[in-house]
Each structure stands twice: as C-alpha cells, then as structure tokens.
C-alpha cells in the first residue's frame, strides 16, 4: 500500500518521462528495420491543396467544381442554389450536366469502393433542370462600364467564360463569331439529341444579358487589323476547327476535279447538320475513327435516314478514344463497331463512292496493355454510300499573321503561358482548344477563368502572375450527439441508370433528347451515394488518449496508431492501405501518451464520421473544407476568405 500511495502523492506529471511503451516500440522497430529511416513529417493540413486533393472529384475537375457541396444542396431540394454554386466554377451547368467529359467520375472515391462512381454529371443536370427562376441571383450588368474594351474571338465556351467573368466587373466585352449562332462546338458539333438547343441558348443568353456584345457572321480575318483597333486586350477562343483528313488513294478521285461529295470531315459535317444545310445521308455509312466525334457522327447518321452505320476502328476496343458512356449510348442504338480495320483506299465506280478497302490488322499487346507489334493479315472491301472521317482535329490560325508578334509553333499551336494564358504578344490571350490543342468544354471554361484573371490584371497594369493562391476554410459540421449537418450514414445503393427515350421514338426528329433526366426517386438515391469527401476528418492529437476506438469503428480500417516511420513502412503497417498513387497518408503530430502517431490512409476513408462519433475525447471532428478557388471578381479583395453561397 505504501509504495502506491507514495507514487500517487509524488504526482509526477505523467507525460514528463518517456514511457516504457515508447521505448519498447522504438527498440522493436529498430530491431526490425535495422537501419535508419526517414520518418514522415506531420501532415500540414492547412496547405489548401491537402484537403482539396482528398475531394477527388473537385481535384480532378479542371474548374474545381465543389461537387459534394452541390450534391448536398440537391439533396435538400435547393436546386437553384446548387445551380448557382455550379455556375461559379463551371459557368454552363445545363450544358455540362449533359455533355461534360466528366473527369470527376473516374476519380470518384465511390469508384474505388465499388464499380460505379456517383453520377456526378447527371446530378449537375438535375440542378439545371429544376433550378427554377434564378435570374435575379445571376451576376448583373453593371450600372456603368470601366471603359476597358475586350475583343473575344470565337463564341465558344472559353470566350463566353471570359465574358462571364469580366462583364460584371465593368469590362466592355465584344464576341466575334463567324457563324450565324453562338456556342462554338457546343452548337455546331454536339448534336441536339444530346444537348437541346434551348438549354444551350439559355445559358449563353444569361451571359449576353450581362452587357456582352455578340457580333455574329463576323469572322476575324486579320489579327493585325484587329490589333490596330482600340482594344485593351484580345482573347482568342476559336477552338481547333480543322478536322483531320485522310489522304488515301481515291480520296481525290481525279486530279483537279471536285472532291468526292460522299466523303465528309466529321466536325464539318456535324456543323452542316446542325445548321440544317445537310439533311440526308446514304443508307450505308462508314465512320472512320472511334472518338467522341465519331459517336456523334454515327448517331446523327441514323437520324438522317441511314440504315446501316459501321464505326471502323484501327485498334482493339481498349484503345478507343471515345468515353465509355458514349460508346454505350451508340451501341444501344445498334451501331456496329468493327475493330482491327485499318483504312487503305476509297473505291469509286462510275464517279460514285461505292466502298472502302481496309487492311485487317493483328496486334501483339504486352502485359502493360501496350502494342508491341502489328501486322497486316488480310484485306477486305466494305461497301458504303458515305464515309465520315472523325479522326481528330487540329488548330488553324490562317488569320494570324506572322508579323502580329504572336508566335505559333511548328504544329500551328500558339506559344501560350500555362498560368497566364498570355501569348508571346502582350495583351493577347488564348484559351480553350485554341490554346493547347483539343481538350474539352470544362477545360475551355477553366482556361477562360484564368485568362479573365490575366486580362483583369493586364488592364490594371498589374503583374499577371500576382494571382491569389487557393485557400481553404474549415467549417464545423457537428449538430449534436451523432448528428452532423451532412448525411453521413453509408448508403450501399448502386448507381442509378439514366432512362432513355425508346429506340423507336428517338429517331423521329433530329433533336429528340435521348436522356430523360433523373426521376425524383433516382435523385433521392443518387445524392445519398455521394460520400461527402469534402467533410474532412480533422484530428487534434493533443486530445487523443489512444483508446483505439476510432480504429475499431472505422468500417474500412483506414486508421492506425503506430511509431512514425518512412512512408513505405507506414503503408505496410496499415491494414487497409491500397497503395494507389495519388492520395496521401495523413500523419499526425506525436500523441501525448506514447509519442506514436495517428496515421490515416486518405485513399480509402469514406468520410462517414464514425471515428468522430466514437471518439471519447473529440480528438476527431468532421469539418467541411471549403476550397476557395479565386476568379477575376475577387482578385482585388485580399480579405476574402471562405466560400460564399
């Protein structure tokens, strides 16, 4: 009894000396590794990129759309707010909710848990479809302009984004467009059965309503002439307008003669259909190429009366460039995709195209999925009435003179700064496909945002590189005992499948939208599939008493308390580490009792909040990370922190 009491009376602060446990672990590890290892430093979660990266979808989105945040708004039925939040980053939620390339979906955390990611893109469309009247909450035309004049060339997503960012700040924006309608490839190349004209026009109109001038049927034919005019800055958003041709025997039937009218360049043909110059096509059509343009061409052909459409691919399926869902949609319409056929020649009879000769290919593919060798094993001729070439597109700037001071490289791609989007001539900026070659709409939007910041800085005479860095604000989510202001319980439902118009009905008109949108039931289920990756597990090591409750409750076993070590060893010590590149290991400061560290594998965490619910000392907390991405409008406001809704 005496010694116990003595110990208690002496009441040494318990953490003062190193515990035996620590010594044991150190010895154990030293014996095990027998070498000096670099140990991991505590993670700095105040770095804005740290939590941003955990939100896989937002990190993957070129425009960094705060996906989980808008999905929560949809879950609350706040469609208008969800739309506006989307619009801040991606400007065209209605368009992108239908035709976005969806870099967010392959990145989705849900896809690492099961096969299918959250239907992020389709939920965006939900926000757009049900937004109601939000016109009073959109950026408004300013009472007076600031006198700065900006010329925007090409009425596509990039130019419209620049106008969207700059017009409310008082800039006088003028968009020049060679066609009779605005929208760029969103109008000319994306068929109306995927993107109804009304959806596109509404979103373009609300930018035009901010006081943006649109000059249609006004191609810019000389950059030098434009530069001589009184513009404070020029933005080029003319896309990659030249479809690649295929110079094979028979492409030009006779020297000097008119080119064959049954061989079409994909993007030009789609434009001609969109503007109703082309209204029919032959019964048998071959599409060369398997990118997304090819998918649009084959499906459009069906709607123009073709009975037999074949998509001809040079390589096997795993090399197809088209998005998986676009391939599925085409195949649903009974499009036949033929692999391992390499085009060799066009065949004509009596001056009319009758077919195409293909070489039959055979490939050897190694374990990494790369082609190591190929050989021709035969030849075949496939009859057809029309051929559509959809094998890519190039930049073309015939209207930019060499004397303009704008340098183009040997592929006719302008030399553009990757941060500021400024060309080699001061005050001339590029964005969208015209800047770095063909990408997609969401990249064009992001280029537009960045170019708008540069133009704003340029017009103020400031350094273009003096841009506000991203920051992160943390907001509590705890509402009470086991109660959070997000739906944290895991929902095991599978991805909802979009309903389509029946095959028999969809070919009646060219513009019958195939996808019907989600039903209320589908919305209710799909929003619950989102794991809320932006609600972060925030750990306060000084409160931890190492009871392991969080480790036990974690349904995916992503936590561990261990002696700090190098990253490879820490990953080994975790029960569930998946060792996928990309997501970090969170390492805490050393814990008070044993000086070990809390390690969390960000890769598998489901953000279910059970660690925070189970923690007896509230060392774990769930906090919403608000990643603040700055645009042109807040560049002058250094005080601005936290996202505003």
């Amino acid at each position: 009894m005496k010694y116990r009491l003595k110990f208690l009376k002496s009441s040494l602060p318990l953490f003062e000396c190193e515990s035996r446990f620590t010594v044991y672990f150190r010895e154990f590890l030293a014996g095990k590794n027998n070498c000096e290892n670099k140990i991991m430093k505590p993670t700095n979660t105040s770095n804005p990129d740290y939590y941003h990266k955990v939100v896989d979808c937002q990190w993957a989105c070129p425009a960094h759309t705060p996906v989980p945040q808008y999905i929560r708004l949809i879950a609350q039925g706040r469609y208008g707010d969800a739309y506006l939040l989307n619009r801040e980053s991606n400007v065209f939620p209605g368009v992108l909710g239908r035709v976005c390339d969806r870099p967010c979906e392959p990145a989705c955390r849900r896809g690492r848990l099961e096969d299918e990611p959250v239907a992020i893109c389709r939920l965006k469309r939900v926000a757009a479809d049900h937004r109601g009247d939000i016109s009073d909450q959109l950026p408004q035309k300013p009472a007076k302009t600031n006198g700065k004049k900006i010329a925007l060339i090409g009425a596509g997503p990039a130019s419209f984004t620049v106008a969207n960012d700059l017009a409310p700040l008082g800039y006088e924006c003028t968009i020049f467009e060679k066609l009779s309608e605005p929208g760029g490839l969103m109008r000319s190349n994306i068929p109306a059965f995927r993107l109804p004209e009304k959806v596109l026009s509404e979103e373009l109109d609300c930018i035009l309503d901010m006081g943006v001038e649109l000059k249609l049927n006004t191609p810019v034919e000389s950059m030098n002439a434009l530069l001589e005019e009184d513009w404070d800055a020029v933005f080029v958003g003319t896309g990659a307008p030249r479809g690649k041709d295929l110079n094979l025997p028979g492409r030009w039937p006779q020297e000097g003669a008119e080119p064959c009218e049954n061989i079409h360049i994909g993007i030009d043909w789609l434009e001609s259909v969109a503007f109703e110059h082309t209204k029919a096509i032959g019964k048998k059509v071959l599409i060369i190429g398997v990118g997304n343009t090819a998918m649009d061409c084959c499906r459009t052909s069906l709607r123009l009366g073709s009975k037999n459409v074949k998509v001809m691919a040079r390589k096997p399926r795993q090399f197809f460039k088209a998005s998986v869902w676009e391939l599925e949609d085409a195949e649903e319409e009974n499009i036949e995709i033929t692999v391992n056929h390499s085009p060799k020649a066009f065949v004509h009879k009596n001056g009319k195209l009758t077919g195409m000769v293909f070489e039959l290919m055979e490939y050897e593919i190694d374990d990494n999925g790369r082609i190591t060798s190929q050989k021709v094993i035969g030849e075949t001729t496939i009859a057809c009435d029309d051929v559509i070439l959809a094998i890519g597109q190039d930049n073309a700037f015939p209207w930019i003179e060499e004397t303009s001071g704008i340098e183009l490289d040997k592929w006719q791609v302008p030399v553009v700064d990757e941060t500021t989007f400024e060309s080699t001539r001061k005050g001339v900026f590029f964005g969208g496909d015209s800047a770095f070659g063909p990408k997609n709409i969401i990249w064009a939007v992001e280029h537009g945002h960045q170019a708008a910041i540069s133009i704003h800085k340029h017009c103020q005479g400031k350094m273009l590189t003096g841009r506000l860095p991203n920051d992160v604000g943390m907001a509590p989510t705890k509402m009470g005992m086991f109660e959070w202001r997000y739906s944290n319980s895991f929902d095991s439902s599978e991805r909802r499948q979009m309903n389509h118009v029946e095959l028999t009905k969809r070919f009646a008109e060219l513009d019958v939208e195939v996808e019907l949108g989600f039903t209320p039931e589908q919305i209710a289920t799909e929003v619950e599939r989102c794991l809320n990756c932006d609600i972060q597990t925030v750990f306060e090591p000084s409160l931890c008493e190492e009871c392991d409750a969080c480790i036990d409750i974690c349904p995916v076993e992503c936590l561990s308390i261990t002696e700090d070590a190098g990253e490879a060893e820490l990953r080994d010590s975790l029960t569930a580490s998946e060792k996928i590149d990309g997501q970090a290991l969170y390492v805490s400061d050393s814990l008070p009792l044993t000086k070990r560290v809390m390690v969390k594998d960000e890769n598998v965490c489901l953000h279910c909040g059970l660690c925070a619910e189970r923690c007896p000392t509230a060392a774990w907390d769930m906090q919403e990370a608000l990643i603040q991405i700055h645009h042109a409008d807040d560049q002058d406001d250094n005080q601005k922190t936290g996202m505003q809704l």
Binding site: F15, Y24, N488, E545, C547, D552, C615
Partner: protein, 351 residues
C-alpha cells in the same frame, strides 16, 4: 440520427484468410459500450485473432457472465455460438459445453467483477480442472455497469473517480492462476494489439485453460489521475516483457529474429509459440520464476505483460476425466440414449 451502426462494407481487394472470409466477417453487432472503452479494443483483437487463425465462426463458442465485459460477446463473431450465463457462472456452463463437444474453439469473456468477486469460486476451479478454453478477463478495476465502485482487482491506494481511496488489497488473477496451476497465463493491454492478438491466437491453440488478464481501461469511471487502470497509467508503466507469436503447423518460423533471442514452444496441434524474450534469462515454462517475476515487477510499479507461464504437458479436463472423444451430437441417438431397459440393467449393477 440518434445512434449509429457500423456499416458492412466490402472493399475491392480486401484481404481474405484461408477460408476466403474478410476481417469484417468476424465482427459482431455494434458495441453499446462507452466510446473509448478498452473492452472494444479486446473485442477487435479477438475478431482479428479468429480471422487470422481462419477459424470458421460457427466452430467457435463464446460464453460470458454479467457485466460490461460479458456484453462484448455480442460484438464479435456474429455467426458463432454463444451464451450469456448467470453472473459469475460462466465457467461451469463452459465446462458443460466443452464436455458435450470439445472440438469447438471456446472463448470465455469475463470481467474483474464477474471473475474475482461473485464468480471467484467458479473461476479458480475451471483453472484447476484445466478446462480447454481461452478465458479473457477484461480487467478495469471497477464495476463499470453499476457506475464505478472498486472491484476486487482495484489496486491498493488507487482512487475512485470522486476521490475515495481503495484500502483493500487487490486480487491479481495472474498470481491466482499461477498458484492454481493454470497452463497458459498471460497479461495484455487493450491498447497494444501487436501483443494482444498473437497472445489470443496462442491461447486459442493452447490445449488446456488459458487465461489472459487484459488491462482494459474504463473510460467512464476509471480513467482519471489516481487510477492505476487508466490509459495514462497503463501506457506509462507498461512493460511488454515477453512477446509471443503463434506459428501455425504448416508455416515456417520467420528467421528475422536473432538466434538465441527466440524460444520456440511446441503446441499439441503441431504449431508453435515462439517467444521473443525482451528480458534475458526468463523462461516462461518455469512456474517459480514466473511467480517471482510477477511479484518483482509489481514491487517496482511495473505492469509486466506477455505470456508469463505456459505448460503444454498438463492433461486437460477432457483427457483427465476420460470423456467421450466424439462430440455428443455426432454419436448416434441409439448409442447416446440406449433406452430404459439398458438403464435398468446398468442400475442393477450398482445394487
């Protein structure tokens, strides 16, 4: 949501054991104990041990008495057999079950109240009989379920949450087990899985009575300054003196220990326990040395843990009592119950 459950989630590439089961197949119902309870750590360690040993859940039996610790049988191995018995009477129920079918893996879960107060008589006799089971004594020094009175395991001089000092000497289950001839005696700590999981595996594979006294802090009533069973105190005075690894019969012993540092002990199933001795000269097969070591360390305020004593040579209850080798449910009914006429005949023999 007013309460929560742990969702069952199957991950891609989840590790499986020899049976193709994943770790979470060995989980049970959601724990209703206080968040941070040491018992949940013990539960998780048991689930992991059963998983790693690839024991089919339906080939395991969980038995327990009354108390916070005894509730935990619900929180692991959801697909095994189990019974919550009367307070302190778990050992006799377990004894009966083992007599009926000794081919299953038996795990008894009890606490310091259930085992050292009301059930002390049952506890010691189960050890004496060397009943073939693993007895987990989740020791937190208080009656948690009745709000924190001192238990018989509370150390002299330790204080209750409101300051009262315990003046009675503690019953040390490890000392008790050593004196009664239990054949596998160990002490662990809910905060050290690295040690506890191999101990549980070794205890399950040991033939005979295995006792693991697990320091398992009560976060609600015995986790304050002045407690000698708090997380703080245990982490500070913790000494994992002997580290045991269970090596299954087919596996090769890992060669990464320095020769001379390990002591292999053969088990009845052909497997081995390899002991990594962190202190020189200690032989856990020497009962006198174990007793010595235990009292020495308690003199110096140390909480000595690890496999302190093992005896593989002692017959277990089934063998000693020359009981039927076949499980009773595998014996044909006619043989098991030969009928009234046969009974009369047997009775005649005693007249």
């Amino acid at each position: 949501m007013t309460s929560f459950t742990k969702p069952l989630i199957r991950r891609k590439n989840e590790p499986t054991n020899e049976l193709g089961l994943v770790r979470s197949d060995y989980d049970g119902a959601m724990s209703t104990l206080c968040a941070g309870c040491g018992h949940d750590g013990v539960t998780a360690s048991m689930a992991r041990a059963f998983f790693e040993l690839s024991i089919e859940p339906h080939r395991a039996v969980k038995v327990s008495g009354i108390g916070c610790s005894s509730k935990t049988t619900a929180y692991f191995l959801r697909e095994s057999h189990g019974i919550n018995t009367v307070h302190g009477r778990m050992p006799s129920v377990a004894t009966g079950a083992i007599a009926a079918n000794h081919e299953l893996a038996y795990i008894g879960v009890s606490g310091d109240g259930d085992s050292l107060s009301i059930g002390l008589g049952q506890f010691v006799h189960a050890m004496r009989r060397n009943v073939n089971m693993l007895y987990m004594l989740e020791n937190n020094g208080v009656y948690g379920l009745t709000k924190g009175q001192f238990s018989a395991a509370a150390d002299m001089g330790s204080t209750a949450k409101k300051g009262a000092v315990n003046e009675l000497p503690a019953i040390d289950p490890v000392a008790l087990a050593l004196s009664l001839g239990a054949t596998f005696v160990a002490r662990g700590f809910s905060g050290d899985r690295e040690q506890l999981v191999p101990l549980i595996k070794a205890g399950l594979k040991h033939k005979g009575f295995g006792l693991i006294d697990v320091i398992s802090p009560c976060v609600s009533f015995n986790d304050h300054k002045g407690s000698t069973k708090s997380y703080e105190h245990t982490y500070k005075y913790y000494n994992p003196a002997i580290h045991a690894d269970y090596v299954p019969p087919t596996a090769q012993i890992k060669a990464d220990y320095n020769a001379g540092d390990i002591m292999p002990i053969e088990l009845h199933d052909g497997g081995q326990i390899t002991l990594r001795k962190l202190e020189n000269g200690y032989d856990p097969r020497d009962r006198a040395a174990a007793v010595n070591k235990l009292f020495e360390s308690s003199q110096s305020d140390e909480i000595i843990t690890g496999l302190l004593y093992i005896n593989e040579d002692q017959k277990d209850m089934h063998e000693m009592a020359r009981m039927e080798d076949r499980p009773l449910n595998a014996i044909p009914y006619e043989e098991l119950n030969p009928g009234a006429a046969k009974l009369k005949e047997i009775q005649k023999g005693f007249r």
